[in-house]
Point group: C2
Chain length 235, copies 2
């Protein structure tokens, strides 16, 4: 297999647009659940937290322009974005690390409904290997390379402790996988051409904190924050 | 307490900027971990997946302009963003639903390091109540209102099954909490003035799938996707 990671993308969708497509998809799925058939660019933009001009520009990259006075067809736009993101394919995913987070991810309904099929669960702990979770038996990490090859795993989810993550990532990459989703609280180094994304479960909590702070400011009559730069900030 | 949820914000930071601040913070924390002292707007923008003009505009809302030829001081920018997001305060968080996901969240180091202190774990299952997790005893959901009041809980994380989430959300709101982070796979309705954010753990996986699809296209010589709109899309 010849990899040409530096080759420009065939279709020029900006990276920032790619990052927003899942947000539109999440908003659209919520609308579909509530039975909405069409949505205006203003309403969809508001639900996704962007301005409507940007939304229209993003969707124009998909060849989706909506209908004047009607807006976008919710189901069709879900299909277009899903296709663009590759979610109409079936992606075999392996989850490495079957602690609480790995188990939660294995049982997470939102993966299957987006085209992600959990094809393997792997762990190094003999106490955990053999456990039956979400229809799968947990396999030993020694089987990693075999499992990746035989089941066509194209994305690996790392839910190991921080100390084990880099070693597993190295093996995953050596086995030919070029997409890693990292839940372990550590920055991993991978060769060029490997896409790695780090999940920070506190991101949404941070946005809530911003609004909560503003609500408290309003109740107390103004910000109660120090303006000085403290000697040490523990982050 | 008088709540004025419709009052305009004292400082006019656009909502879209607020949503990007945690992304900058995540990128900056990664840089700080790697020992970087300063960062250019171009590098920070690339790490956060936005364009650098937007980054500079976002940061200008915080009064942060960097230094020509040097860039931004990483630690100071972490402090400024953290302060703006309210992360230099201590937020008491209650996690409702102590299954695998609730346990994983209770043990998640990324909360504490961002100013979120898990002050309570609650569950309805008598088998789970009394379990000792991350330094806390799981309490019965009947204690929800008491716990919120006595421990000053300002943000509730819902990690219950979908069927229980709305009922818990109603009680949380009645107890005066106006910030809810929802991991349950269901759309909740809450009164105006309550901020609710839904976490979709598959968002980052979707971005990976997009790139994986592109890599496969390059190897096979072009997109293998159907252009037709199929009869049924199961999302």
């Amino acid at each position: 297999m010849i990899r040409r990671p530096s080759q420009p993308r065939e279709r020029g969708i900006p990276e920032a647009t790619v990052a927003r497509l899942p947000l539109y998809l999440r908003a659209l799925n919520g609308m579909a659940e509530r039975g909405l058939a069409t949505v205006s660019s203003e309403d969809l933009a508001a639900a996704a937290g962007v301005n409507s001009a940007k939304l229209r520009k993003d969707l124009s990259h998909l060849g989706s322009y909506g209908t004047r006075g009607v807006g976008y067809d919710v189901e069709y736009l879900i299909y277009q974005i899903s296709r663009e993101l590759g979610l109409t394919q079936d992606w075999a995913v392996a989850i490495v690390g079957v602690g609480n987070l790995g188990r939660a991810l294995a049982n997470y309904g939102g993966f299957v409904s987006r085209g992600f099929r959990v094809a393997a669960l792997l762990d190094a702990d003999p106490e955990v290997v053999g456990d039956h979770i979400a229809g799968l038996n947990v396999e030993h990490i020694d089987e990693l390379e075999t499992v990746i090859r035989l089941r066509g795993v194209s994305i690996v989810v790392l839910a190991t402790p921080a100390a084990a993550a880099q070693q597993v990532a190295d093996r995953v990459v050596a086995a030919g996988v070029t997409s890693i989703l990292n839940f372990a609280p550590v920055v991993l180094s991978v060769p060029e051409g490997v896409d790695i994304r780090k999940v920070d479960l506190s991101i949404e909590l941070q946005i809530l904190a911003f609004h909560e702070q503003r609500k408290m400011d309003r109740m107390t009559g103004g910000p109660a924050m120090a303006d000085e730069w403290p000697e040490a900030v523990d982050l």
